[in-house]
């Protein structure tokens, strides 16, 4: 039955392979069907919640067009995506079926990698000490790999982001691949993937830390850990520099640095999006701009170290929370970012029972994803609303994301506490531990 063999040679998750085929087949068919609807993909591609200045497929096509006609693609301030994407799409953009196939396959690949990550995690957790619960039961095991994969593949955010051909998908794939390789203890590929993700959208650089944590997890000596970390740093830099060099060879100028990373860091393209920054920088006087720019960008990165120190035992969770922070506070967030961290969240499914605001978070996500296009319509098409309407929904969405982060962090800390001091399930009533909830809250 379960003869799925991962490249490492181990057996995959013990899910019946026909179920896997069913889920992936359904995901494939759904995407293929939606991509071939007449107007749907182009409507989605125009939604600001899906396509941002740095992930829009339309802008990518424009860049390819300029490149093909010998105009430097980064002149003119329309195109802000990495040169290697340009190179990739230069080859295939004339054939829509190929482009569609690429998007579908990349999305399915992310699903497949999530399946594999869950399998590795399950293997890891068999060696862990189990949490005992009341009634002398052990903690139920988390979600199966197939559930995790289908939660990613059938998440509406993932689907519309894929159908809208947002290029965030490629960065997402690099991130998930980095995590997978990290879990497999494959230093070279892990660092290459993270470097690729960094190269594509810059912020994933901070995922270096959790991935190094994954590579050094388990019983390895201090010396060994240090050696691996240094090696990883070197590998990461080497990969990144070679990617830059390749790009230089491709576009024959260094202008892509300011065109891509300059735009990401300086938030120069103020096309509205779901994020929190565009409105600020439209309203702000120019002499405050650099100060707030530094504050906001530092704010994204500042969590990476403390979170990793506090939760070093849970590198998968750290990578989830860092992705969520990126997806909330970066300059050009889209729902493609949400698709990534919502896909990573079920990897820590054992914390779900400790979460308290699930209903609230789900509702906030639902309301913002319905109201954002409505208020955009009222603002841009009908003209009866204004920018404040849309930005207000961006704020609601941000609140939803922040509550999700707070809630999950609480849940993992609470679970950590349960592991540290498991409740007594027999013996003297006074030491039963039932009152810990009272003490805790």
């Amino acid at each position: 039955m379960s003869t799925n063999v991962v490249p490492g040679g181990q057996k995959a998750a013990n899910t019946p392979s026909n179920n896997v085929a069913l889920v992936f087949g359904a995901a494939f068919a759904l995407r293929l069907g939606l991509l071939n609807l007449p107007a749907f993909p182009s409507i989605l591609a125009d939604q600001v919640e899906i396509s941002t200045p740095i992930t829009s497929f339309k802008r990518l096509s424009e860049g390819v067009f300029l490149f093909r006609n010998g105009v430097p693609p980064y002149d003119g301030g329309v195109f802000h995506q990495a040169p290697l994407l340009l190179g990739l799409f230069y080859l295939i953009i004339n054939s829509p079926p190929l482009v569609n196939a690429l998007y579908i396959l990349v999305d399915l690949a992310i699903g497949y990698m999530l399946l594999q990550i869950t399998a590795i995690k399950e293997r890891d957790s068999t060696s862990e000490k189990k949490i005992m619960q009341y009634g002398d039961k052990t903690e139920e095991s988390g979600m199966s790999g197939l559930t995790v994969a289908s939660l990613y593949l059938f998440n509406p955010f993932t689907i519309v982001s894929c159908i809208g051909k947002s290029t965030i998908l490629f960065s997402n794939m690099a991130v998930v691949a980095g995590i997978w390789m990290g879990m497999k203890r494959n230093k070279g590929l892990a660092m290459f993937s993270i470097a690729l993700a960094t190269y594509l959208s810059f912020y994933p650089a901070m995922l270096m830390i959790p991935v190094v944590l994954m590579l050094t997890r388990g019983d390895i000596g201090k010396q060994q850990q240090k050696r691996i970390s240094v090696q990883c740093g070197a590998l990461f830099l080497a990969c990144l520099i070679s990617l830059f060099l390749l790009s230089f060879v491709l576009v024959d100028s260094w202008s892509f640095f300011s065109g891509v990373y300059g735009t990401i860091l300086a938030v120069t393209d103020l096309t509205p999006n779901l994020g929190l920054l565009w409105y600020f920088f439209i309203e702000m006087f120019d002499h405050f701009r650099s100060f707030f720019l530094i504050v906001f960008q530092l704010h994204v990165f500042i969590f990476a170290v403390p979170v990793s120190i506090k939760l070093w035992k849970y590198p998968l969770f750290v990578s989830f929370i860092l992705c969520a922070i990126m997806g909330t506070f970066k300059g050009y967030p889209s729902i493609g970012d949400a698709a990534l961290y919502l896909g990573l969240l079920p990897l820590s499914s054992e914390i779900f029972k400790y979460m308290r605001y699930t209903f609230l978070v789900v509702n906030l996500f639902l309301y913002s994803s319905l109201l954002a296009p409505i208020f955009w319509y009222l603002w841009v098409y009908v003209g009866s609303g204004n920018a404040n309407f849309f930005y207000a929904i961006g704020l609601v969405y941000g609140i939803g994301e922040i509550i999700l982060m707070i809630d999950t962090t609480f849940a993992i800390c609470r679970r950590d506490f349960e592991i540290l001091s498991p409740p007594e399930t027999s013996g003297d009533p006074a030491s039963l531990g039932w009152d810990r909830e009272v003490v805790q809250k």
């Binding site: 009341y134 509702n363 109201l371 009222l378 009533p429």
Partner: protein
């Protein structure tokens, strides 16, 4: 001692939690009452405000009107001409009108269009002419339009309206004070004619299998505002009505209405009212609460339907503020009669006012409810009740969500020979979402299926919308029936298995019992309430009136209904839910207005296909699925 005090603390916490969970529904019903009363208070005199001109550039009535007695005579002559023209077939009629405009000295042209919907095919010809203002640079324009067909069913043609357009063309031609070009449009058909013209004007003309719209050959600049004239027949009128509700409940800037009202009260006195069949405005009138309520209800009815009340509604789709002026004769009403002379003054003065605009109308309100021509309630004042209604849904959903995972595991602690039950943390019963998600997903799929069925021409003989609707009702009832019977069978099987299991192992020492998840209907009802809240609140941002009508219809049934152990009561609830389902509402409307069911259905489908109104998709794809899920919910097993 410490143990005991901590025990009682835990107990108290638990009781507080229960108190909150179980009082929330009561609070939510109170909110429904508040919301209803608040909605009723909206038209009240002390709640609404008097309108005012917000855009200073408008200066209504400040310009000297040039429409004089000579022009009136010209207008009457044109009336004769139009009367003769109206005997001609459409193509020649349009050509004759074009020639009339050309004789005035304007550039004029005609536009053909064809439109196929899934049920009908329509052809038509629009005529239009452009007066290029001598002092303008041609970047801005105003529109004066008249549909060939009047909304007044007693007359075949909009004779006075078209004659007025021609006469005004002549008046404007000799004026030199216009800063905007003026476009005259005489549109064919209902609203599809003007829509074809507007699409072509903005360069969006389609040449597909379903639509053909001819390209426009003469053009002007960006259209700032439009005035649509509907003066049927050749007689005089005693009341001037204003129609303003557009596609999907969009409204023009309130200053448009204010300008006309101001002019009709001062410069060119005319009795003025909102819409057509209710009492015209007098100073003392708004004191009368039922009258205001009536007027507001009328407006909300038109807004909720989403089909424009006249050609002005199509302009709104293009961000052009527009209203329709409608002349009608109300027998027995004491107001003085007016003819083309007075009407010319009103229209010219309004156009001169709009001509003053320095930028697009943006000052006044875009979201308002009118309870009289001079009284409005703005968005900040009318949104709270619908938000409260939404919150009342959410509160009950939240309470049910809490209840579905309460009954925590309890550990019997023996202290001083007295057993006390203690709640254990994080050991609540789990929720079983499978049935609820399946039902909700299936009902949404059926809803979309119905919508697809209604709007596609399948091409079988004798195909009418009504037959398709009946087919989809059949599918829906099969779905409901199978879902409910599956749930009942499953429930019975589970119960038997449980009884067997209980008799098999009776271990008294087992102090922690296995917990059964909450009944499926509780989860399903949570979903229904949460979705209804989402639906009503988001809809209220788009079309407040539709949200109010839907919200007030569903709030009590959805909140109050739940499966009963008495089969009869469940059946009654299901019957009520069927009554408020779209087919039920369709039959009710048909009965109320004593119209044909098929006619109303085709009206809704045509609205969607021709103008893109959202009534049909909203009802099929959102309202009906929730309703279906609710019907399944009341029929599920109780426990």
């Amino acid at each position: 001692m410490g143990l005991l005090s901590r025990l009682s603390k835990a107990k108290r916490r638990q009781m507080f939690g229960h108190f909150v969970l179980y009082t929330m529904p009561i609070l939510s019903y109170a909110m429904v009452a508040v919301s209803f009363l608040w909605l009723l208070a909206l038209p009240h005199r002390s709640y609404s405000k008097v309108t005012y001109i917000s855009e200073n550039a408008l200066q209504p009535g400040a310009a000297n009107v040039q429409f004089d007695w000579n022009d009136f005579v010209v207008a009457e002559a044109y009336r004769q001409t139009v009367n003769i023209i109206s005997e001609l077939p459409p193509l020649e009629r349009a050509e004759a009108l074009r020639r009339e405009f050309a004789q005035v000295g304007l550039k004029s042209a005609t536009q053909n269009y064809t439109l196929h919907t899934s049920t009908v095919t329509r052809h038509g010809v629009n005529t239009y002419a452009i007066f290029y203002a001598p002092r303008s640079d041609g970047t801005e324009a105003l529109i004066l339009s008249a549909p060939w067909k009047s909304r007044n069913p007693k007359f075949t043609a909009n004779t006075n309206g078209v004659a007025m357009l021609l006469a005004l063309a002549k008046v404007f031609k000799r004026g030199s004070h216009f800063s905007k070009d003026i476009i005259f449009v005489i549109s064919d058909g209902d609203t599809e004619g003007l829509q074809a013209w507007l699409k072509a004007y903005h360069g969006n003309e389609e040449r597909t299998k379903t639509r053909f719209e001819e390209t426009l050959h003469i053009r002007s600049g960006a259209i700032q505002a439009a005035l649509n004239l509907d003066f049927a027949g050749t007689g005089d009128y005693n009341v001037l009505g204003i129609f303003f509700e557009g596609v999907n409940g969009q409204l023009p800037n309130l200053d448009m209405i204010n300008t006309v009202v101001e002019i009709a009260r001062g410069k060119a006195p005319v009795e003025i009212t909102l819409h057509d069949d209710i009492m015209p405005y007098t100073e003392s009138m708004p004191r009368n609460y039922t009258n205001s309520l009536n007027k507001m209800f009328y407006m909300m009815k038109y807004q909720a339907a989403g089909t424009p009340t006249g050609n002005h509604g199509v302009y709104l789709k293009y961000k052009i503020d527009a209203i329709t002026l409608y002349g009608f004769d109300k027998p027995g009403w004491p107001s003085p009669r007016y003819n083309l002379f007075r009407l010319g003054a009103v229209v010219e003065s309004t156009v001169r006012s709009l001509n003053n605009l320095l930028e697009h109308l943006h000052q006044s309100f875009f979201f308002y409810l009118l309870s009289g021509v001079r009284r409005y309630t703005s968005i900040g004042l009318y949104m709270p009740p619908i938000i409260i209604l939404g919150v009342s849904f959410i509160l009950q959903a939240l309470s049910l969500w809490g209840i579905s995972s309460d009954l925590p595991l309890e550990l019997k602690v023996l202290s001083e020979a007295k057993a006390t039950a203690i709640v254990l943390p994080y050991s609540r019963r789990s929720r079983n979402l499978r049935v609820a998600t399946t039902v909700v997903n299936l009902s949404f799929i059926t809803g979309y299926g119905t919508f697809y069925l209604l709007t596609t021409n399948l091409g079988f003989p004798g195909e009418t919308p009504l037959i398709k609707l009946i087919a989809s009702v059949g599918i829906c009832s099969t779905l409901v029936f199978s879902a409910v019977s599956t749930a009942h069978i499953r429930h019975r099987v589970l119960k038997e298995r449980q009884i067997k299991a209980n008799s098999a192992d009776k271990t008294p020492e087992k102090n922690i019992a296995e917990l059964i998840p909450a009944a499926d209907w509780i989860i399903l009802k949570t979903f229904i309430l949460a979705l209804s809240a989402l639906f009503v609140t988001t809809l209220s941002a788009l079309n407040f009136s539709l949200a109010v009508f839907i919200g007030t219809t569903i709030v009590l049934p959805y909140k109050f209904f739940r499966p009963c152990s008495k089969r009869f009561l469940s059946a009654v609830q299901a019957a009520v839910l069927v009554m408020i389902s779209p087919p039920g509402l369709l039959f009710a409307t048909a009965w109320w207005f004593s119209k044909d069911v098929g006619l109303i259905l085709s009206w809704a489908i045509e609205g969607y296909e021709v103008l893109g109104t959202w009534l049909l998709p909203t009802l099929c794809c959102i309202y009906w699925p929730i309703n279906l899920a609710a019907i399944v919910m009341v029929l599920l097993p109780v426990s």
